[in-house]
Amino acid sequence: MNFDHIDIIQSTIDGVLFGSIYALIGLGFTLIFGAMHKLNMAYAASGIAGAYTGLMSLTILGMPVLMAFIIGPVTAGLIGLLLYFACFRFMPRGNQLAPLMASIGALFFIDELIIHETSGSPMSFPAVLPDAYFFLGEFGIRGDLLMVMGFSFILMAIVMLLLYRTKLGLGTRATSQQPVAALLCGIPTHRTNGTTFVLAGVLGGFAGCLLAASVGVLSPLLVLPLTIKGLIVTVIGGLGSIRGAIIAGFAVGAAEGVFLLVRGVNERDIYVFLLLFLFLVFRPNGLFGTTINRD
């Protein structure tokens, strides 16, 4: 493919805009990891499942489009709570592998459930601002992705406010840093963890709905790539770092866009994974991660 600097800038813009969805997914992974130091592998799947529920509210109940963006995240939040109880709450504390494997099982369970209910067929999801495409000179910018980006910033701001300006946030941070000390101080750590799962689930639900709206189609094919991209973003940003997840989301999106243009689709993911590898080897704590010793 022939390209010039205009194409590179355009691909970077596209990638950054689309990266806001990765940032939202990475944020959810980070929230859960920050709270429990555990990875919830079924997180992106619960977000997509939420988006499907939102879509069902439109197609089966005939609700207005906006309801998909309310019902989807709420359902994803509830799935998040369910995942907490099924895969984390009652798992032996000393066995780090158990919740990881349980959440991988939950990922495939949710994925297969969606496939069974939809026969794997892609379903049309109402696009938000489908005709909004702005040409600025030689550049084109998707209005819907701009909206997704703006919406992501709002959600991220809400999460930051919750974490740093509320009692819930204080409890979450305390539980994250010293769970036993937090418990001794009267913080209900299990309830705090459960609430974090719900919060992350709601974020995932928004990400699922926004992704479906920007692609215009909802498919179970979205689950695995979104999970992988979310993990890459979380690692590159620094496990547990909210700021890192946001910046890494945009960076991974941009890198994908540029690699796609420069090296083609068959090599695009190789370079993104290489990026992950380089971070794991040379900067294992990611861009902003810190090493925290737990009890």
Binding site: F18, I115, S121, P122, S124, V217, S219, L222, G264, V265
Partner: protein, 419 residues
Amino acid sequence: MKYIARNILISSMSALLLTSGAAVAETEINIAGWGAKSGPLRSFGINSEAVMSAAVERVNQMGGVKLADGSMAKLTYNYSDSACNAEQAIAVARKEAADGKSLIGIGPTCSGAAAAMYGVFQKQVDDTSDTGLQYPILTDTAVRNGLAKISQWTFRNTPNEPEMYDRLWAWVAANHPDLKTIYGGTETDQGHSNGTYSKVIVQAATRHGFNWATGAIEGLTGDIASGYKEVLNNSSNWLQADTSFSVQARAFRRSKADIFIISSHPFTTCGMLKELARQRVEPKLIIGLTSSSSAEVMKGCAAEAEGMIIPTSFAPITEAAAEVAALANANGGDADLHSAAAWENVMIIKQVIENVGITGDPAMIQQERRKVRDGLEALTETNGLLGKITRVQDEGEALKPYVFVQAQGGSWNVIHDPR
């Protein structure tokens, strides 16, 4: 009175015993079906089984299949999930071949799984040095070009894409003489989409005088597979699970081609079409992959697909095809170019069983499988839902009748019927 009542009771019980005895004695011929019933391509298996079930029921309504001794046997089937996964498809094939219950298999729906699965079958019959499976397969759905010749035990009843696209481009050249240039892309991680695009569709277009919009492609002569690597390098491609098509759509727009080729399955076909619409790219014509002439594209992006033309080996345009479509719907599936072949396959199997003379004796299952294989190989022509299907003996493939359909107002309408 008591005597009469006793006699009636005895007669009824005798009749019941005789009837059940007859049912037990009824010979059954079993067909094994398998396909993707889980995973993202679950609809393949759902549709295939729905059609297969309807066909088996129809055969039994007609009295079943005639055995060598003139008696009639009931046709039965079982359907397994191979999830569009090579290992799973091979496992099911091995199980079916080993347990000796089924006479023949219909599966495994997906091209990738079929390509791998065919590899574990005996390549040449009577080759004692080859311990591969000796079990006949008549595949539906899996379309990727040229698979059946992998083994002499494997046969397919799927569309012949080189023939279809050759005729399609000839038709486009004749009906749209103003259109001269082409540009396209494919999902490179899907064997069928990728192979058909880079080895069949672009070459067929070249044969009929269409030029690549961004300049000549090295090695592309019009022969099948000529310059296929360069075709891919010069195209703007994506992956099966991609969600962003901005870069690709921009390349399409910049090509300024008259005709766009989008060779992918419904999910990314819709993603790409939506992105083209968003970027206000309006080609004069879009040509799609056979597999996208399905209900999924209409469910996912009917408005954006408007005008897209695809060749397909199934459309409910004959009485038989319309009936199969209705029966498939009643069984919870859809009859499309992939699944409708399952109906034809069951009918072909009935025809072969009756031609070669099968006893239905479980002790002779291996000899009878061989007879069925030989019978399939000997077929030169079969009846299909759209007309006569010609068999390509040395390759185990079919030349099926086809039509060209166009997305119009939310459904696929036949715009040309070359039969």
